[in-house]
């Protein structure tokens, strides 16, 4: 049985857990992060990837708005290679009340968000795909962020500062001695081995699953899962984030992220049992396309790649456990003062956008409990990969004349591209052609980024996230994984799982070109490669 002692154990490998692990490690603590599946598997990897300016919350929730704009400006500095500084527009359509715009702009400015009213003509010039019928537009500093990359970069930095990371390892129970959490018992889902790890503090950063984790420690956190469905369109329809200038509603944000565009979201309360098995319904797809086309009419004729859904971890305020008064703000629970359970804290609520602040607050609490005096530096220290200001600069530091494949790698890894051998023909050859992911990049993920299967590789490299959804890259990636030591039978099983997971996202929107592509993929796999289902 594996036994080790740490200053702090963090449960949850989403962005909150990864950010907290990094912050703790940067402050000199000995950290263990435990995640039952893979990084960014929950809500972190299932949202818009919107780098909020805070404008969306300006009218309804000033506190969130202020947090967002502060974090927005920090992330644009410290997480450059994960962030795309696109700016955003809040547009008013003929059916919207233009009177809302004045309130909106005033509340934005109160929160410290730069909000400039621009002429509809100017808006059409800035973003040609915007609904030309718009009657008003406000420009705000929205952007987009790649949540997988952000999580991986936080995780990587935590490890560079001494943290240990256990993926596919579930916390089965807590070690509680004298009313104090002193560690956790774990089950390694890959090997089936049990473990026991002791620590002076344990932080629950499990998102919606934090509800169940807290229960294992005998404390209640009142959470309400809210499902949000989104659609991925196959290319960057717009270059600017498009929002509706009205009270937040369904499907009113279109975000350009990497090579795709994402429209969302819906909002439906679901039971806890559904959190691990979410399906996007035809009604949700219909709503997303119909509402999305009001932001950018071309969406009606644009190929949809996938549909997916995430769960927001909404937290009921302690004074009203019924869930009627829900906070979307950051919730940090010190279970010692709240429940009399020492050595245990829960960090939840919040947003992808405010993960760093959540991590800072959680780490402050941990340090206070452990009597450690160390200041938070994550406001200023860039994440590994984010040192250069532009893609050109990052690429220029590594290669005099970067090739297309090298450029694509820099586009994903920023300065970290220099850590990967990418100079010979083989390592530059493409595994995933749609997203231009090279052999070098996939091997780097296999060697250094804790991957166990094809889906894990996808989260770290974008393999299979492009137009063909694994048609060409699935087998190639499986081959590289097999070369690295996975047995052939397991690699084949893994490939099957990967392709099923891709199809799950295609199924709700399988018509037109996406259906053709799906049919073609099936033909390639069954007839050309002979990979029929036995």
């Amino acid at each position: 049985m594996d036994k080790k002692e740490y200053d702090v154990i963090i449960i949850g490998g989403g962005i909150t857990g990864a950010g907290t692990a990094r912050d703790c490690a940067l402050r000199g603590l000995k950290v263990l992060l435990i995640e039952r599946k893979d990084i960014a598997d929950g809500a972190t990897g299932r949202n818009h990837g919107l780098l909020h300016s805070g404008a969306r919350y300006a009218v309804t929730d000033q506190e969130s708005a202020t947090e967002c704009i502060e974090e927005n400006m920090i992330l644009k500095r410290v997480a450059r290679h994960c962030v795309d500084d696109t700016t955003g527009l809040f547009i008013s359509l003929p059916e919207d009340d233009l009177g809302f715009q004045a309130t909106f702009v005033e509340r934005c400015r109160q929160a410290g968000i730069q909000a400039d009213i621009i002429d509809p003509e100017e808006a059409r010039r800035l973003e040609p795909s915007v609904n030309p019928a718009l009657i008003g537009a406000v420009r705000v500093p929205d952007g987009s962020v790649d949540p997988f990359r952000l999580t991986a970069a936080n995780m990587l930095d935590a490890k560079l500062h001494g943290a240990d990371v256990l993926l596919y390892t579930e916390v089965t129970s807590f070690l509680i001695e004298n009313g104090t959490v002193v560690g956790v018992r774990t089950l390694d889902h890959k090997s089936g081995e049990k473990g026991e790890y002791r620590s002076r503090m344990t932080v629950n950063a499990g998102g919606i699953w934090g509800h169940g984790i807290a229960e294992k420690a005998g404390v209640q956190v009142g959470m309400f899962p809210a499902k949000g469905a989104l659609l991925i369109f196959a290319h960057r329809v717009a270059d600017i984030v498009l929002n509706r200038c009205r009270k937040p509603a369904n499907a009113d944000i279109l975000v350009p992220g990497e090579t795709v565009s994402i429209i969302g979201t819906t909002s439906t309360r679901i039971p806890f049992e559904e959190c691990d098995h979410m399906q996007v319904t035809p009604d949700e797809v219909n709503l997303l396309v119909t509402e999305g086309a009001k932001l950018a009419p071309i969406l009606e004729h644009t190929r949809i790649l996938r549909a997916y859904a995430g769960v927001r971890p909404l937290v009921a305020s302690d004074s009203d456990p019924s869930g009627r008064s829900i906070s979307r703000g950051i919730v940090l629970l010190d279970h010692e003062t709240r429940d009399g359970l020492k050595g245990f804290a829960t960090i939840t609520g919040g947003k992808l956008m405010t993960y760093r602040l959540m991590a800072e607050k959680a780490t402050d609490l941990v340090c206070r409990k452990l009597g450690v005096e160390a200041a938070c530096v994550t406001r200023t220290v860039p994440l590994p990969g984010s040192e250069s200001a532009t893609l050109e600069e990052a690429a220029g530091k590594i290669w005099a004349a970067p090739t297309t494949a090298q450029k694509a790698t820099v586009g994903r890894l920023g300065d970290n591209a220099g850590r990967i051998p990418l100079d010979d023909v083989y390592s530059q050859s493409l595994v995933c052609e749609c997203e231009e992911v090279t052999v070098g990049e996939v091997n780097n993920a296999i060697d250094h980024l804790d991957v166990h299967n094809l889906v894990d590789i996808r989260r770290r490299t974008r393999v299979g996230m492009g137009t063909c959804q694994g048609e060409l890259c699935g087998c190639r990636t499986a081959g590289l994984l097999a070369k690295a030591g996975v047995c052939t039978r397991k690699a084949k099983e893994d490939l099957k799982g990967f392709m099923r997971e891709r199809w799950k996202g295609m199924y709700p929107i399988a018509w037109g070109d996406t259906l053709r592509e799906g049919e073609y993929s099936q033909w390639v796999y069954s007839e050309v490669l002979g990979l029929n289902e036995d």
Partner: protein
């Protein structure tokens, strides 16, 4: 819900079958070129993200359109690549590129001193100089300029033309004017024998060499000029050069954004025009009894794109005494001005190698092809002469008998 079943964004219709790359002649010989799928629909998604992802190696695309011919999804791959070059390339056309693109201008300059120019550019010293200072490959043989062009020959024939009951307009193109006036002369003779008079147009170079060399503004000006000139007549606009035809029909709207709807359907290659006259029974052909030749037909890339080689094959197939072999379809490697460039010369020769080997093996009396730059490449690489199909037709027809049967007694 989405109303359209297929994406309006043409590049999204790509299902990544990669057949375009299998058909690309460049990617097989030049590892620097990413291939049509990567350079086209795949690269486009990245370029939309950030112009940083534009790859200057897209310049190696010859615009042969074989990728588009192969594509089962109707993706305009070469158009995507060319449009990206227009939008993102930092490369500015060099003096060499401007000279090569200025087919019309260079012709006008060279003609008055044609013998001198031909003699000079034929010398080793001049070739070495152009290689070193301009980047025009020294191995290249230049087509000879003619002292007397097609139009000045035609001037004496013009009055006769109005006597024919039916008329066509003839777009002769630059190489007929400056280098190969015999093609234009043969066209006039054949058309007259079929009972058609020929009118010239106020034409300018179709602009294809400008498109290839990044002189977009000039190309657009030429396109607009030609469309306007064509609009002044209702006659069919008949041509003898496949690339000019293809450029004016398809590249004007797709790449240059010049609307040619009013004239597009009237622009037609001579072989297709004559074939349809025969097919409708409007004309008849009388061939010479003593014509004999072994000919190999090389289908130019843009002919493949037009889909019209069937008409040439059918027409030539009617000539008794003509032993016609259709060569396996493959690019000759010249691609207009592409093969003249020093950086492309080796690739150009490598691309054309299988075709040249086949021609050498076959050893025909001559090769026939509708494209003059294919002609230059094949003649230089194999020593076998290449003739436009209209020249073969003019040789094989009994022109007087033809004229009698098609014009009755009215004309001459």
């Amino acid at each position: 819900m989405q109303e359209q079943n297929l994406s309006k964004n043409n590049f999204e219709q790509c299902i990544k079958c990669t057949i375009c790359t299998a058909y690309c002649p460049v990617v097989q010989v030049n590892p620097l070129y990413p291939g049509p799928k990567q350079a086209g629909p795949d690269g486009e998604r990245f370029r939309l993200r950030d112009p940083f992802f534009y790859d200057e190696n897209l310049k190696y695309c010859m615009n042969c359109k074989r990728c588009e011919n192969a594509c089962p999804s109707g993706v305009r791959i070469a158009d995507i690549i060319h449009t990206a070059r227009m939008k993102y390339s930092h490369h500015t056309p060099s003096l060499r590129d401007r000279i090569l693109a200025g087919t019309d201008f260079m012709g006008k300059v060279a003609r008055p001193v044609a013998p001198l120019v031909n003699a000079i550019v034929g010398t080793k010293a001049a070739k070495a100089g152009m290689d070193a200072f301009l980047g025009v490959d020294k191995h290249r043989t230049f087509p000879k300029y003619r002292f007397k062009g097609f139009e000045s020959w035609f001037r004496h024939k013009a009055p006769d033309q109005n006597r024919f009951p039916r008329q066509v307009a003839f777009f002769h193109g630059c190489s007929t004017e400056y280098q190969h006036p015999e093609v234009g002369k043969a066209f006039v003779r054949v058309m007259n024998a079929l009972g058609y008079g020929v009118q010239l147009l106020d034409e300018e170079c179709c602009g294809v060499a400008m498109i290839s060399n990044g002189l977009w503004k000039q190309a657009r000006a030429h396109a607009r000029h030609n469309v306007q000139a064509f609009e002044k007549t209702d006659l069919p606009i008949v041509t003898t050069a496949s690339t000019c035809t293809f450029t004016m029909r398809d590249e004007y709207p797709e790449i240059l954004g010049v609307d040619n709807k009013s004239v597009r359907d009237r622009i037609v290659l001579a072989e297709k025009f004559i074939f349809s006259l025969l097919d409708r029974g409007e004309v008849r052909l009388v061939f010479r009894k003593d014509f004999k030749a072994r000919v190999a037909y090389h289908i130019p890339c843009h002919m493949e794109k037009l889909g019209w080689s069937i008409f040439t094959r059918e027409l030539l197939g009617r000539i008794p005494g003509l032993d016609l072999t259709v060569l396996d379809s493959g690019c000759c490697g010249m691609a207009g001005t592409y093969g003249f460039k020093k950086e492309n010369y080796a690739y150009s020769q490598e691309i054309g190698r299988p075709l040249m080997e086949r021609i050498r093996l076959l050893d025909p009396d001559y090769v026939t092809s509708e494209c003059d730059t294919c002609k230059w490449q094949i003649e230089m690489s194999t020593g076998v002469s290449v003739r436009n199909p209209i020249l073969i037709l003019a040789d094989a027809l009994d022109l007087d008998a033809c004229r009698k049967i098609n014009c009755g007694t009215e004309a001459e």
